[in-house]
């Protein structure tokens, strides 16, 4: 059985880093960005419900060897219109 790779989604909140110690198994590395988008949008959606939204935050995704594989700024996770 092939071991599925695990990726760690660290949240950078304008000065505060919330490290992900659990990680998430992702079978196909091509799905990392899609997964990161869902994660970022999940956090942003909850912020909007509370009435604030910070677009300066980002997600940094590391692999098991602590190599940075993707940075996703929140501002790139949504299409903003009308501002």
């Amino acid at each position: 059985m092939v071991a599925v790779a695990r990726y760690y989604f660290h949240l950078h909140e304008c000065g505060t880093i919330i490290p992900d110690e659990d990680g998430v198994e992702i079978e196909d590395p091509a799905d990392i960005r899609e997964h990161a988008l869902r994660e970022a949008r999940g956090v942003m959606a909850a912020e909007v419900v509370q009435g604030t939204l910070c677009l300066g935050c980002c997600l940094e995704i590391y692999d098991e060897n602590k190599r940075l594989v993707l940075t996703l700024p929140f501002k790139d996770a949504v299409i903003l219109a009308g501002i």
């Binding site: 949240l11 909140e13 919330i18 659990d22 994660e39 956090v43 909850a46 997600l59």
Partner: protein, 254 residues
């Protein structure tokens, strides 16, 4: 969906005594069981099996000829959307009957999965059903167990549908702490949290980064502290207030 149990039998009756002790302890919290009822439960033919974390015990659509009791470890029930998104609908710990509904409903309508390495005891459904009909106290205890399960499901619908992320996680922690204490695991303030962030997210309708962020917020506010998998509730009153948690729906027995 397969009708065949998806795992090879590694059962033995060596741990049948522990299985009997767990289910007797659980049912005794639900009703006052007499010595003869306890003896009849202990005499059930338990098939004990060790399973790794992640193993599916029951899959949706499967015909389930046996009922399964969690002897050690932790499990969850869940359902999947067509595109594979998972909603965990309950967490379970030792003593829980994971599929009591299969006494009367032949086909599984959800999945049951171990979330840690676990010991499972399988009992032929017909044998448990016979006991339920012939021994009123046992039948009543199993019925109460089903009703409390349903009460917990109703609370979870409220939790996922109407509370914010922080409250959802706080509520899940309060419930888990109360149930651990009832099952004799920890003192209600300090307990092992076996779920990953992803599993907590699947139970609360949040993403795992969001779960991580909310756990940090609960730590920062002094409601909980964490050391590895161990969670300590530092301020019950505060956590309970954040969670909107009132334990009456557990009926003091779950």
């Amino acid at each position: 969906m397969s009708d065949i149990l998806p795992f090879p039998g590694t059962g033995s009756t060596a741990d049948g005594g522990e299985a009997a002790a767990r289910i007797v302890a659980k049912l005794s919290r639900l009703i006052d069981l007499g010595e003869d009822d306890r003896a009849l439960i202990a005499a059930l033919p338990f098939r004990v099996e060790q399973v790794p974390a992640g193993r599916h015990l029951i899959r949706e659509g499967q015909v389930a000829p046996d009922c399964c009791i969690l002897v050690r470890g932790y499990a969850c029930r869940h359902k999947l959307t067509a595109d594979g998104a998972r909603q965990i609908v309950s967490f379970h710990l030792r003593g829980d009957i994971l599929d009591i509904q299969h006494l009367l409903l032949e086909r599984a309508d959800h999945n049951v999965q171990a979330i840690s390495a676990s010991t499972i005891a399988w009992v032929p459904r017909q044998r448990l059903e016979q006991l339920a009909w012939s021994r009123p106290a046992i039948g009543k205890a199993l019925w109460r167990d089903c009703l409390i399960d349903a009460s917990i499901f109703r609370e979870w619908v409220l939790n996922v549908g109407r509370r914010d992320g922080k409250s959802r996680i706080a509520h899940m922690l309060c419930e888990f702490a109360a149930r651990c204490r009832a099952a004799g695991l920890g003192d209600g303030n300090c307990f092992d949290l076996p779920m990953t962030q992803e599993q907590i997210g699947d139970a609360t309708g949040l993403t795992s980064v969001h779960v991580n962020r909310m756990l940090k917020t609960l730590r920062d506010e002094g409601a909980i502290s964490r050391s590895g998998r161990q969670v300590t509730i530092s301020d019950w009153a505060k956590l309970q207030r954040i969670a909107d948690f009132d334990s009456h729906y557990l009926h003091a027995a779950a």
